[in-house]
């Protein structure tokens, strides 16, 4: 029903099993970090992989989603689901405004204009009183889901995050394989032709952009609840850069690439942390090797090796 091929269906099952088993082996808070990053990367992949537009400002949507979810949670003590939905809506609304300005550009100019707009969002977050400036919004409670599920336990929170991720993952996949998604692919391959067939290509691209921003906002909002904080790091351009790298490392335009990339990048950040000064050198070297040696990303190369599309 989601348009999975047989190989993809098997891979999807494997991923779900992995998500279910991992918290008993690995540390759940770390895994939640991975899942939030993975959802964010899936949203980003929707743009780069299927619309062919590189956004260099996705941190704006992720970060604003995170701020708004944290703020509603802390000030209004709403239900966790409401906070996350607010995060998603914020991402979508912001995406609509910024996307409207940016969508007519393509290639490197699209990347640059999204970067510039995101820098303005960053400036807004730095100056606006509700974000707490450099300190961020701290001590956000995790609260309850649907009024009765207490999220303060890490494992409970984990299942919620896992559900949000799988939901988002399937949504992205559904979008790609819908008639709407097919038009997007058509636009990516040959925009003039799509226009001549009567499609208003800018509208299609804008809708895809807004959807991508909404999912990014959900990812940001979920992350704010998991860690109980929303800070400037999430809106900073380095976060935008990180999601590009994550997706590239996993495999641009592949279904499972973003999740794989998120796993690798987050693990590097987490487990290289104990080597102190060598973190950045190692990260940089890995990105270089990735570009030079396996450009299709981990999943892309794997798929090419197995001759299936993953």
């Amino acid at each position: 029903m989601f348009g999975f091929s047989r190989a993809q269906a098997i891979a999807f099952l494997a991923m779900v099993v992995l998500i279910a088993v991992c918290p008993f082996v690995l540390y759940p808070v770390f895994l939640m970090r991975v899942l939030c990053a993975a959802l964010f990367a899936c949203a980003f992949n929707l743009m780069i992989g299927y619309v062919g537009l590189l956004s260099f400002g996705h941190a704006a949507f992720f970060g604003m989603g995170s701020y708004v979810a944290a703020w509603t949670m802390k000030t209004w003590h709403v239900d966790a689901s409401i906070a996350i939905i607010f995060g998603g809506l914020t991402g979508a609304a912001l995406g609509l405004v910024l996307g409207y300005l940016a969508i007519r550009r393509s290639g490197i100019y699209f990347a640059m204009i999204t970067l510039a707009l995101a820098q303005m969002v960053y400036f807004f977050c730095l100056e606006a009183p509700f974000t707490g400036g450099e300190d961020g919004i701290q001590q956000v409670p995790r609260g309850h889901l649907f009024g009765f599920i207490d999220l303060s336990n890490d494992m409970t929170m984990y299942w919620v995050v896992a559900a949000v991720f799988i939901g988002g993952f399937l949504l992205v996949h559904r979008i790609i394989h819908s008639p709407f998604g097919q038009v997007l692919k058509g636009i990516r391959e040959n925009e003039p032709r799509a226009t001549s067939l009567g499609y208003r290509t800018d509208d299609y691209k804008l809708i895809a952009f807004v959807l991508s921003c909404m999912i990014s906002g959900v990812a940001g909002g979920t992350k704010a609840l998991v860690f109980g904080i929303a800070t400037l790091t999430d809106v900073h351009y380095s976060t935008s850069g990180e999601v590009v790298l994550t997706t590239l490392l996993g495999g641009l335009g592949t279904v499972f690439g973003p999740a794989m990339g998120a796993l690798v990048v987050t693990s590097m950040e987490n487990y290289l942390a104990q080597f102190g000064a060598w973190v950045t050198v190692t990260q940089g070297a890995i990105f270089m090797i990735c570009v030079l040696a396996f450009r299709r990303g981990i999943i892309g190369e794997l798929g090419a090796f197995l001759k299936i599309s993953l």
């Binding site: 204009i113 970067l115 590009v244 950045t280 990105f287 030079l292």
Partner: protein, 295 residues
């Protein structure tokens, strides 16, 4: 005293001049980026790291070999330029046929590695580097007190920028270069060694960054992060000026320095963001940048 928007006239003149001087750094750095982008089609994210290497090279020359500022002004760009040539030969040349994205990511990784290695070796606090004796002190311009070194920076930067522009636009070497970017196989057929030309171009762009680094060493903290602070603004300058446009990046560099300088007087908090505001406006109105050629 004349006042303009509530700011005393002399102060405003001073600010304009200072903005222009800052613009000199933007111009030199974005010039190198524009040259590299124009010829190699690579968005060189490692430019900030190479700028930093220029500053460190002058510090090393002074502290390990005892070579002072003025010789370093020649030697440091030369050394870093050679480093750039090696980089181009071994790594960057593999990317020419690919999407811009890959060049950007590779050089981004490169910047992380270079900066990380320098941080491991020299820490993050920075290194002291003195203003050369002959350029110490300041001159009273009537409306402001102007350090001699800043005056030197703006003159040196202008000379280098214009020389680069002249080489590319007015000499036969430049003509060959420009022809090679338009149609490499054809130029190669005329017996020109195009790959070598490209390598030298990269080396030259890198040397420009290193030259800016040496100029920066006496006034900015010489530390491994010094390039990252510049790189975003410089990218914005290149985009606003029109990707690959030489004169565009020079004029925009100086111009944005002035815009930023004025913002520092009226709304200092936004002085790092104003560049991006300008960029969005320019891209919306003139998508190819101020001086970019129409596609």
């Amino acid at each position: 005293m004349i006042t303009i928007f509530g700011i005393p006239g002399p102060l405003l003149f001073g600010q304009l001049l200072l903005g222009l001087i800052n613009g000199a750094f933007y111009a030199m750095l974005s010039l190198g980026l524009a040259v590299i982008f124009g010829m190699l089609n690579i968005i060189n994210f490692a430019h900030g790291a190479l700028f930093m290497m220029g500053a460190f090279a002058s510090w090393m020359l002074l502290n390990y070999v005892g070579i002072g500022y003025f010789p370093a002004l020649i030697l440091a760009p030369l050394l870093v330029g050679i480093f750039g040539i090696i980089l181009e030969k071994t790594i960057i040349s593999r990317l020419y046929k690919l999407d811009h994205l890959y060049g950007l990511l590779l050089t981004f990784g490169l910047a992380l590695v270079i900066e990380g290695l320098f941080r491991n070796a020299y820490g993050s606090s920075g290194m002291p580097y003195r203003i050369p004796n002959i350029l110490q002190g300041a001159t009273n311009l009537g409306f402001m007190y102007m350090p001699n070194y800043r005056g030197w920076v703006v003159v040196a930067a202008l000379v280098v920028c214009l020389a680069t522009w002249a080489i590319i636009e007015k000499t036969s070497l430049g003509a060959t270069l420009r022809a090679a970017t338009e149609n490499a196989p054809l130029v190669q057929a005329f017996g020109v060694d195009v790959p070598r030309l490209i390598t030298l171009t990269y080396g030259g762009g890198v040397a420009l960054a290193a030259f800016a680094g040496v100029l920066a060493a006496p006034i900015y903290s010489v530390n491994p992060n010094m390039g990252t602070n510049f790189i975003n603004t410089v990218f914005a300058v290149v985009v606003i000026g029109g990707m690959g446009s030489i004169m565009g990046s020079i004029i925009t560099g100086f111009g944005l320095g002035v815009v930023e300088g004025l913002t520092k007087v009226f709304y200092p908090q936004a002085s790092a963001t104003v560049v991006f505001v300008v960029m969005v406006i320019v891209l919306l109105v003139r998508p190819r940048g101020l001086f970019g050629k129409a596609a």
